[in-house]
């Protein structure tokens, strides 16, 4: 019997190694897998490359991981916010590397990795600082920039419900990066509010099919 559910958050993140590339779902705090991040901080992996839209808000979740100095590099679209003080301090001190990418390019680079695409030409960013040094091409009279896929060793995402095959449904705008990060990582770990019996999720409404998910774990109470 296939059972992708994990007994504990601790076990779910136990093999995340130093130097791993880890995608973390969420847009701000919506969809942020805080239970898994807390478990990752306790686990202790260092020198991580993190892929997220932001660079942490306030003092919890991704911000706490950054504060604990576990992050070597962050790939994101919008690091600077009114409450991104932990990132700001380390960035100004030269202790964290930033790869800034337009938000839609970030999403499509993640999607491309999950879909087996070796890169793509996008009009976003053409002629700007963020396209400097990148290959360009004119296609049907329009200018495009070449962008590469972003692969990851692990993805930590948050969903509403999951079953033992790894099928997931999300809640409202907390869905954001979850479905595409699940596709792009070698190992996807989903924290869910509820683990439900197989068959309970409506197959017409499953957003992430279990093929993209390796572990499902219940979030901390």
């Amino acid at each position: 019997m296939i059972d992708k559910t994990c007994e504990t958050l601790e076990r779910a993140v136990a093999d995340i190694h130093d130097g791993a590339t880890v995608m973390i779902g969420g847009f701000g705090n919506a969809g942020m897998p805080s239970s898994l991040i807390d478990a990752l901080i306790a686990h202790g992996a260092r020198e991580l490359t993190i892929v997220n839209n932001n660079a942490g808000n306030g003092d919890t979740g991704l911000a706490a991981l950054i504060k604990a100095k576990r992050v070597k590099k962050i790939v994101c679209s919008f690091p600077r916010q009114s409450d991104s003080w932990h990132f700001d301090a380390l960035y100004r001190a030269g202790e964290i590397e930033l790869e800034l990418t337009p938000q839609g390019n970030l999403a499509e680079r993640i999607r491309a990795a999950g879909a087996g695409i070796g890169g793509f030409f996008t009009p976003t960013g053409y002629g700007t600082l963020l396209a400097e040094g990148k290959e360009t091409r004119v296609i049907d009279g329009r200018n495009y920039v070449f962008e590469t896929p972003i692969h990851a060793d692990f993805a930590l995402i948050k969903a509403l419900r999951g079953d033992r095959w790894g099928n997931l449904v999300y809640r409202k705008t907390a869905r954001n990066f979850g479905p595409i990060m699940a596709m792009a990582a070698k190992t996807t770990i989903a924290q869910v509010a509820d683990i439900v019996p197989l068959g309970e999720l409506d197959p017409e409404a499953i957003v992430t099919p279990g093929i993209f998910v390796q572990r499902v774990v219940k979030e901390a109470a």
């Binding site: 919506a30 600077r80 930033l98 976003t124 700007t128 869905r175």
Partner: protein, 215 residues
């Protein structure tokens, strides 16, 4: 003596140009105000790039849901018929040309419609771009809403942008506190001016040549 359009008048003016049935993204800041001036009987689909279509107004106090937010991370509501989707789909809606209109703020817009709105270029600034570049090139029409001049009186409408660019030749119309300008192949054409303002007055505070209103 001329008067300036207030921020609310600017928002109401932009709202006039948004027809029923349009798929629209309102950027963070001043553009968000446009929603307040869309008449309730006009069905307009508001898109928020974090993953929703059919965005409704802010919830009543106490009704906020941390899983239901807009691109500015503010709590919002979903209208009946609205939908949620993931980020790659959301940006496909932009990049794929499915959005009719997006309304953005700006630091500068050039006479060719180049847009600068993401970065001041200050050496100590931490850069952050978010969806600005995707919005700039994605929608069928890009409307910019901004003050005509900076706080120190410099024109934000320019011949060439001096701030780092967000997108090239992407702006179709500019709404300021002094005028509404169309970006045309011939240059910037004045569409409307604040009451009491002459073309000469407007030109005097605009750092790019202006064409008179079409007859």
């Amino acid at each position: 003596m001329s008067t300036r359009f207030t921020r609310d008048q600017m928002a109401a003016r932009v709202a006039q140009d948004i027809p029923e049935g349009a798929y629209v993204n309102l950027g963070i800041g001043l553009p968000t105000k446009v929603a307040n001036y869309l008449p309730p009987e006009r069905e307009v689909f508001l898109h928020s790039e974090n993953g929703l279509l059919g965005m409704g107004p802010a919830p009543a106090p106490g009704e906020e849901d941390e899983d239901l937010i807009n691109a500015g991370k503010q709590p919002v509501t979903l209208l009946e018929g609205g939908a949620y989707f993931h980020h790659a789909d959301s940006f496909a809606m932009m990049r794929g040309g499915h959005l009719d209109i997006c309304v953005l703020g700006a630091f500068q817009v050039s006479q060719q419609g180049d847009l600068a709105n993401w970065h001041t270029g200050a050496p100590d600034a931490i850069p952050a771009v978010g969806g600005a570049m995707d919005l700039a090139i994605g929608a069928k029409q890009v409307f910019v809403m901004m003050e005509h001049q900076t706080k120190t009186g410099e024109s934000k409408v320019v011949e060439r942008c001096t701030y780092p660019l967000t997108g090239l030749g992407c702006v179709s119309r500019i709404y300021t506190d002094l005028a509404v300008l169309d970006v045309t192949p011939a240059g910037l054409r004045v569409r409307e001016m604040a009451p009491g303002l002459t073309l000469a007055d407007l030109q005097a505070v605009t750092a790019a040549p202006l064409l008179p209103p079409a007859e």
